[in-house]
Amino acid sequence: MGFEVTVKEAPSMTLWDYAIASALAKGEAIDTDAPSQLVVENLHAYFGRTHAVKGLSLRIAAHRITAIIGPSGCGKSTFLRCLNRMHEVVPGARREGRVLLDGEDIYAPAVDPVEVRRRVGMVFQRANPFPTMSIYDNVVVGLRLNGIRDRRVLDEVAERSLRQAALWDEVKDVLARPGTSLSGGQQQRLCIARALAVQPEVLLMDEPASALDPASTLKIEELARTLRETLTIVIVTHNMQQAARVSDSTAFMLAGSLIEYGPTAELFTRPKERQTEDYITGRFG
């Protein structure tokens, strides 16, 4: 089942349009009835007096990739950080509203944020491997935190996570080297492996490839598509082509509010809101 591609009246197809068309031509069924892994209900987030996220509600489908796009400063990173309770680490930050992970509010008073963060992992904009640890130690640090010391288990998980992050072949002989001795793209994949090692259910990616070269960027996007089978992924990106290539659903945010949310193909070809259309056609942002 494919979608109708409406080519806009333009003198020629731009690279942009090709990207959309090719994404759609993959013809994958977008299953809008997939179970929701994360349900956000009326989320507000503040930094002191600044109201960064305004009453956002949406459902993030399990085993899908959801992209959050929007101009800089629209609150997409803040929103992302509310999903794994990283927002509250900043002094002066607060939030209202609920975020349900498998039906339970992660902000309930009895819930331990440490546990939430293990189940909802995060990859940051700039790769941040721990410089005082080797590649191996970086990958297994999450397991060690949880008290797992058995070398055989650690080895197995390390290999598996590095394979999942498509890094194993490149580092399997140099696991003792410091984490920072790798290239930028490799460091980011190391951070992904590190996040995967603790077996999260959801992986949040905050502009993971924005500091990388195009080749590494594509590798990361490929990675995201393969990880989709085992995890739910939410990716924030300012690169619309990336969102189009990679994601199943896309949410467009503007000035802290959710403007539109829907299957990626629809959002990019037949946006319902005027603002969405303005953004994706490059009229601002």
């Binding site: 940051f124 005082t132 640890m133 999450g142 935190l145 949880n146």
Partner: protein, 326 residues
């Protein structure tokens, strides 16, 4: 602390040649004047080194390097060995570090990672106030408050619990190596903790975030990400504290007992290089006596120079590293 000129202020440099003709002479003289006074600092330190070496020469020639490991200090017979003082200096400083470093680290961690910002500022100020107390006043407090407390509360307990160790054996005077170590610890806590605090502050936020995002508790973030990242700078802070402890004079001489002996017990009195200089310098009867004292001052000068330079270098590396990594 870096010794390069602070960047980014764009102070236009003093011209080698003034473009305004009538002022040329004035500017040239000014430049020379400034340079002279700038260089004066270097000349001063060089002068100290030279004067000390010169005055210590008689003793150096007489005793040679054995001076440092001879343990007999006998002014009457003109035999001088610095070992008891070296021992006292090293032992009291080591004890001070042992006590002060964990406390200072705890203070720094609390100030940077745990305390709310306003509390942190207020507490930092209070702890720095400790550094402003003159050494002689701390010594006064040491004689009348600390030493009696050590004798009545600390030494009995240590003796009861760990008395089988030679370290905690023997008569309990209060005054002695233990009191000196404690008072030195009190004096170096401010500098070790404030430099450590700066080092920990310089750790990039992304390191903490990476640890939090993996599901670590606050303490795990501190102990596994923040402190390891700053370990070089913290070592620098500790060495700075060591440098301060080695040269401390007044507070130490007032509570250490001033007896030139080497003993295995912390309860015993001892003597440090700085203390013997303070006490015996003005009473040195012979030239050789004086020269021997000055030789010890020279040793103190050299050690302090090396230790301080090393410490500053480590701290500069740690704080600039972190700045560059951002």
């Amino acid at each position: 602390m870096s010794y390069a000129a602070p960047a980014g202020r764009g102070v236009p440099p003093l011209p080698a040649e003034s473009r305004v003709r009538s002022g040329r002479g004035g500017d040239a003289i000014f430049r020379v004047l400034l340079t002279v006074f700038g260089v004066a600092v270097i000349v001063l330190v060089a002068a100290i080194a030279c004067v000390l070496t010169g005055a210590a020469m008689p003793a150096i020639r007489r005793f040679g390097p054995a001076f440092l490991w001879t343990s007999r200090w006998d002014p009457v017979h003109n035999i001088f060995g610095a070992l008891p003082f070296v021992f006292g200096t090293v032992a009291s400083s080591a004890l001070a570090l042992l006590v002060a470093v964990p406390i200072s680290l705890g203070v720094a961690v609390y100030l940077v990672e745990i305390a709310p910002p306003r509390t942190s500022i207020a507490l930092s100020f209070i702890i720095e106030l400790l550094a402003a107390i003159p050494s002689v006043i701390l010594g006064l407090w040491g004689i009348f408050v600390l030493a009696p407390w050590v004798r009545s509360a600390v030494e009995p307990v240590l003796s009861a619990v760990l008395g089988w160790l030679p370290l905690f054996s023997g008569p309990q005077y209060g005054i002695g190596l233990l009191a000196a170590g404690i008072i030195l610890a009190i004096m170096i806590i401010p500098i070790v903790s404030s430099v450590s605090r700066d080092v920990l502050r310089a750790v990039p936020a992304e390191q903490r975030e990476a640890m939090y995002a993996l599901g670590a508790t606050r303490w795990e973030v501190i102990s596994r990400a923040v402190v390891p990242y700053g370990r070089i700078g913290i070592i620098g802070a500790v060495i700075l504290g060591l440098g301060r402890a080695l040269g401390e004079t007044m507070a130490v001489t007032m509570v250490i007992g001033n007896r030139p002996q080497i003993s295995t017990s912390l309860f015993q009195p001892a003597y440090t290089i700085a203390a013997v200089l303070a006490n015996e310098f003005s009473e040195a009867t012979s030239d050789l006596y004086l020269s021997a004292l000055i030789e010890m001052a020279l040793v103190l000068f050299a050690v302090s120079l090396i230790v301080n330079a090393l410490a500053r270098w480590l701290v500069a590396r740690a704080t600039s590293h972190a700045r560059a990594a951002r």
